[in-house]
Symmetry: C2
């Protein structure tokens, strides 16, 4: 129905100028509140804008001037709550500063990442935000050549291209291990998801087992789920792990989703937590604070990561690495 009305081409700045009886540059100046013009002119222009329903064309504006004020996010997943949280932190800052967020999802695939980065760069964004430091050679080359800011998020164990905001996953894994050891657990298992693709989970695991090894209590066993992480696969993973190793006294999960699955498995099968089995997660999801026993975990600054990253970009900060740290949350499952 509205289709008939659709194709009258959109109002242009020139038409507004005509309608207001002023020059194009005057309209442009008024709309951007930049340069000088009289109050009377301003009113006349705004009246015409209002009357014609003019919406500036930023495609044209960007081409003519410089910055697109577009910030591109190339993220691995939207199922993993981490990334919506980062986007959430960033979007507030970006909106306040008249920037726009564009995103695409790589599904943890470096080749897709490469293709998507290329597609994003075609929009000449102000900045590109990526997860972590592991990128293909070509991706890195494109980013370097692009001239736009690059922010690598949620990791610190690697070399930054330009800006980096996050925390050390390796240290998070180590801290988790040290905590469990200090609590006296010795027969510790691990339940995780695909570590090759999710390199940050891989780094946590490396830090974790490294610390266990250093303390003379190496990882007893582990169960890796081939796909992504989920509550369901956490439950299943723990079930399988326990079927092999009944003597475990603690299990470290690759994140809270998995850990909650494990916790529910214990609840459902009468496994006393933590006396029979301790459970430790990662992320510090809200839900983990409300379970009958609050989940022991590492709380990560996901929203802040997005916020800070966006702030660095809109203020055009010099290249730097920002360590936001993490916080160990001592729940009741350890």
């Amino acid at each position: 129905m509205t289709l008939e009305f659709r194709h009258h081409p959109a109002v242009t700045l020139a038409e507004v100028a005509e309608a207001a009886g002023v020059g194009e540059s005057t309209v442009s100046r008024v709309l951007r509140d930049h340069g000088s013009f009289s109050k009377k002119t301003r009113d006349r222009v705004m009246e015409a804008v209002e009357r014609l329903g003019y919406v500036p064309n930023r495609i044209a504006g960007t081409l003519a001037s410089a910055g697109s004020r577009l910030v591109a996010f190339v993220i691995p997943s939207l199922s993993n709550i981490v990334f919506p949280d980062v986007l959430r932190g960033a979007s507030t800052v970006l909106e306040e500063n008249q920037h726009q967020a564009v995103f695409s999802v790589t599904d943890y695939d470096p080749e897709r990442e490469e293709a998507l980065v290329a597609a994003m760069l075609a929009w000449r964004p102000t900045a590109v935000m990526l997860a972590g430091f592991e990128h293909s050679e070509r991706t890195l080359k494109m980013l370097r050549a692009s001239g736009c800011r690059v922010v690598e998020l949620l990791d610190l164990d690697g070399t930054a291209l330009d800006l980096a905001v996050g925390y050390s996953n390796r240290a998070a894994g180590r801290t988790s291990a040290e905590f469990l050891l200090k609590r006296g657990y010795r027969r510790i298992g691990y339940v995780g998801h695909d570590l090759d693709r999710d390199t940050r989970a891989g780094k946590r695991f490396a830090g974790f087992s490294e610390a266990l090894g250093a303390a003379g209590a190496p990882l007893a066993d582990r169960e890796i789920h081939a796909g992504g992480s989920s509550v369901e696969s956490g439950r299943l993973g723990l079930e399988r792990l326990l079927a092999r190793r009944r003597d475990l006294d603690a299990v470290y999960f690759s994140n809270d989703d998995m850990a909650l699955g494990g916790y529910f498995h214990c609840l459902a099968h009468g496994i006393a937590v933590p006396s029979q089995l301790a459970i430790f997660g990662y992320n510090g999801l809200d839900i983990g604070r409300v379970t009958p026993q609050p989940l022991s975990t590492i709380r990560t600054p996901r929203v802040a990561t997005g916020r800070i990253a966006a702030e660095l970009v809109v203020t055009n900060a010099p290249p730097q690495v920002v360590d936001l740290g993490f916080e160990l949350v001592e729940g009741a499952t350890t």
Copy 2:
């Protein structure tokens, strides 16, 4: 460090043409694989593209031709898993069809929505995707005048502007009530979050209490949390509700997050579910299937909503309303 290298302006199509010894239009044709050119020319162009690291400028391309292939999402929230799920469903389809997703978050505020829609329209997107049918007069006017496709998501109770994809929230509420009634529950309470802002939750609640009323078992009591929904507020809400009404035999929650909070409260306080109190949610989150007792809920096609919406847009389908329905999941909490 790379900052020094940054400001050599990006390679342009003209430079590629020069380097390959062909005309600009030939390069353009080769890159878009559109029109005809010889194999030899193609190779020569691609070689130059490769060598110079050329990345097409879609800002310029869009200005010169037509479609931006940008799809704008103006969503209420990223904390509510519903919206990441919708984005997830859409992003796959969009990426496969060389479209890009831009988004911004209104925080359930119609005025912010208005401002953000205006900002989005400045990019001349192919389509704008919004949540629900409730928009300000000015928002509607801008959208109608914009000439771009409009998709209203996740609701069916209202009048569509152009395309709509979702399901009836009112019917979901009604179905939930009828299910509880059929199970014999009569003293039913409600725990929810801010219904004025989240109009879809409001419609579910309306459908729910309407059905209860029609069956002669009107809602016994309700507890509304002023802010957004969360597991924590669900727990707290149930606690408060039960403090007032010890005699309830079932509680309907505005969504699964809230319901899980309520369920955890029961687990922690020895309230037998469902014999003492039945719990019913909404959304059908994965986690609800793995709790010791699977949660009774309504499963909504969130990812499919995003996917279908994107498909309609990329295929430029005629205006229509797509009802994706929902599914009642009979868990063990009722």
